[in-house]
Symmetry: C2
Subunit: 280 residues, 2 copies
């Protein structure tokens, strides 16, 4: 099986590396707007060769998109225009409603499977790819009833080879859940970084003092706007709902502190501690 | 040298384990209001034996307090009442202004060294203690001019044996910096956990979907109120300043999203990315 990866960065590269290790796929073809990334990906053994968009798509049995979600929305109809009913297309995007909406009336819609592997780091590009990235983590398949059985089975097999456990839900539910589980953490982390950068001018002190708690909370603030602006754009309504709730929750801490209501502060913290039972 | 540890939990236990490994200290005496913790600490090899408060303090050359900061404020004057000018006392608290204020006029003030090892986890109790906890991290000594030279030298030697690098600052500056570097991260994390718990009733979905980004951002939300309410209480003014700034920063993200001003959103994220240059 020939596999084309559109976007040979962190996610596309990590998928290719793992599938190659599993001897899944005979040939990996890179497609990317960055010639530098294509060359790096080839040198790193992520892809065997690279092609232009049209030839790359036409020559592959499976096409995996691993590019920002706004670019995915644009490119997916073009990919589906080029394929036959023997080919399968899957994405890896962090939002899903806009993506499935963009192709819902496409005659080849059923050749597409909406896939979201729940993993990422604050780094990007082929050099950031790691073959053990996905093992043990969750992957979501959305709207499986809108995909052909053989296309779905192929993507399920990919997930198995990536050693991920699958969850099925519709695209709208996916976007609500990811707003809570992933998108809000990034906004919080960005805002926290900006808070510290705004007031703490003594950067050297930050660096020296930063404890592991701080580093883990602001780690996500290193994530690139090229990936995240499109996610927030695509999932605007859900992200705003969660952001408003988060600001409300922060105001409760503020109010408890201002009023020196330490019983309330303790209650708020005890409630938050319940996350201990959910997240190991 | 005999060392008394007041509070044989995560921090006190981790210090004792590391010092014992370095053969620093001939005998470790535990003092704790929890008999269960004292027995656990003895079984875990953290302490050799335990004593009541008065005898434990009187029988030690060095007394280390490792208890919540409000308890430290109360107990320190009592510790200083019991000691002679041959003994040294150090704390490990996450806030400092209230602690140094509480003993500023005590005749034995100079036997005390204000110490803050910048490490912690969301766990507590003797079983959470780890001997490699502190290596490579920062420790702060506050108001060193208020301590006797020999007391200061002893605590510096402790820091060296814990393999920490020392930073010196005054207590007020310490409390401003830790509000930014540590305390706000905890409030953010608690509020984020409460946000998710408030709206996401499908706990099973959280657990299944939670990606590594989410786990690292809400990890601190597991931290106990017994430690953190006193910290927020002691450092109320600084924490409120930072919290207000943080809410302002979050509102900028909210406004950019509401107005679909994606250029501003990109700017906010690019600014946050500057943390990359500061935190490796």
């Amino acid at each position: 099986m020939k596999i084309a990866i559109i976007g040979v960065g962190l996610i596309g590269g990590s998928i290719a590396l793992k599938l190659r290790e599993k001897n899944f796929g005979a040939e990996f073809i890179g497609i990317d707007k960055s010639e530098i990334h294509l060359q790096e990906a080839q040198e790193l053994g992520i892809i065997d060769r690279f092609e232009d968009f049209e030839n790359g798509v036409k020559n592959a049995d499976l096409i995996i998109t691993a590019i920002p979600v706004d670019a995915t929305v644009k490119i997916l109809p073009q990919v589906l225009d080029l394929i036959t009913d023997k080919q399968t297309v899957m994405d890896t995007g962090s939002t899903k409603s806009g993506i499935v909406e963009a192709i819902k009336n496409h005659p080849n819609r059923k050749r597409f499977v909406a896939f979201h592997p729940m993993w990422g780091t604050e780094n990007s590009g082929p050099k950031a790819a790691q073959k053990e990235s996905f093992a043990g983590r969750a992957a979501v398949i959305c709207d499986r009833e809108d995909s052909d059985q053989d296309a779905l089975a192929l993507v399920e097999n990919i997930a198995k080879n990536l050693e991920m456990h699958l969850i099925y839900m519709n695209a709208d539910a996916h976007d609500v859940h990811t707003a809570y589980i992933s998108h809000i953490s990034h906004i919080t982390s960005y805002a926290l970084a900006n808070t510290v950068l705004e007031k703490e001018r003594e950067e050297d002190t930050i660096f020296q003092l930063a404890s592991s708690g701080f580093s883990s909370t602001v780690r996500l603030a290193k994530s690139h706007p090229e990936m995240w602006v499109p996610i927030f754009k695509q999932n605007k309504e859900n992200v705003l709902d969660v952001l408003n709730e988060h600001i409300t929750q922060l105001r409760k801490f503020k109010s408890a502190l201002e009023k020196e209501n330490f019983e309330l502060l303790e209650e708020l913290i005890k409630n938050a501690n319940k996350i201990r039972g959910i997240l190991k």
